[in-house]
Symmetry: C2
Subunit: 216 residues, 2 copies
């Protein structure tokens, strides 16, 4: 192994160890956590803004927001009335387990049922870093085009659920649903795909059902 590969491998190993600690902590507390990933502007925060108010009252939710800069997203989430914590990565292209571990310290975990960890907007780097999550959700959008699963396979391969957002704009684009689904079949046939519009609300009943079925 050359130096770069060896250092990356050491970094990933250290990250995975810490991720396992987080996973154990969350399991002990019966908290289900989802690592939400996607391109810049795919609508990750917008999906959460619409979904969170639909959740049953007795489901306590917290959100960790990852961004290079600004606290815009944590402020948007705070308006839904749930706990939120902002991580600024200061240039790093993904969250890592240490960042999540330290954000967890700023949240009240008692009685929490559901934790969303919104990763940095990036369709490449976040896929290599375990965060102790129960599973992974990719938000992609029709305006990004129907070829994303085949062009960014390392990311789409790791998803449990793909939320296809901005369906209200589909008729204004050349997005081909059959082509997109073939790309998903070829890349990750196990992942579920739910098509939604975070501005109009279409598809959110199905998304809510998917999330609620997977609570402890």
């Amino acid at each position: 192994m050359n130096m770069k590969v060896r250092v990356m491998s050491d970094i990933l190993k250290a990250n995975d160890l810490l991720a396992r600690d987080i996973e154990n902590l969350l399991r002990e507390k019966s908290i289900v956590s989802w690592n939400i990933m996607g391109s810049p502007g795919a609508g990750k925060t917008a999906v959460l803004e619409r979904l969170i108010p639909m959740l049953p009252r007795d489901v306590r939710v917290a959100v960790i927001e990852g961004d290079l800069a600004t606290s815009n997203d944590a402020e948007r989430i705070a308006k839904t009335g749930v706990q939120s914590a902002q991580i600024n990565t200061n240039g790093a292209c993904h969250l890592d387990a240490a960042m999540v571990r330290s954000a967890l310290d700023s949240l009240d975990l008692d009685g929490l049922s559901l934790l969303f960890i919104e990763n940095v907007g990036n369709l490449v780097c976040p896929s290599s870093f375990q965060l102790g999550e129960r599973g992974r959700i990719i938000v992609t959008s029709v305006t990004e085009g129907d070829d994303k699963p085949e062009k960014y396979p390392s990311m789409f391969k790791t998803a449990d659920l793909v939320i296809l957002n901005k369906m209200d704009l589909q008729s204004s684009t050349n997005f081909n649903m059959a082509y997109f689904k073939r790309g998903m079949e070829g890349t990750n046939p196990e992942a579920e795909v739910i098509a939604v519009s975070s501005t109009k609300g279409d598809g959110f009943d199905q998304l809510l059902n998917w999330i609620v079925k997977r609570l402890y």
Copy 2:
């Protein structure tokens, strides 16, 4: 410096040396090169597909396409009748100078005036890697939202030109042009911004003019 920082610093130094060689080679041959960066699906290839046929006949053009996987984009560019070369990064989140150097070997550089290097779709990682380019162009789109300059400052800081694409969809989004322009002012007041629609053609006369004015 810790090990990770030291290795990254060595990698960047080696990259910059090779980038300088590329820059010298292109200058000798009077080839102007632009590093085109942006989110997945911002429309980088679509902008080139519309722009290239508008260029004067005597401007010889080549395009290097960078992607994690597939040769979709090089095939799209080949249809415009210009030379194209595809780089697959096999997981890497950005192009580097060595990849560009090897792609240049597959192109006929004699008589070439203009080289577009389309980077991997990513609004973070490509900014750190010089490719020997004359300058940098970011393609962003109204569907990604008006907050991208402030949320991805490391990228927007390095741009000479920002192409704001998908203007035909603006009325279907909550994109606020004044907010976007304030974000650009705060991040990179020197960069020019040209608003376009790659599907309808709006703004391409201005873009063509910007490119042609900067030829040797």
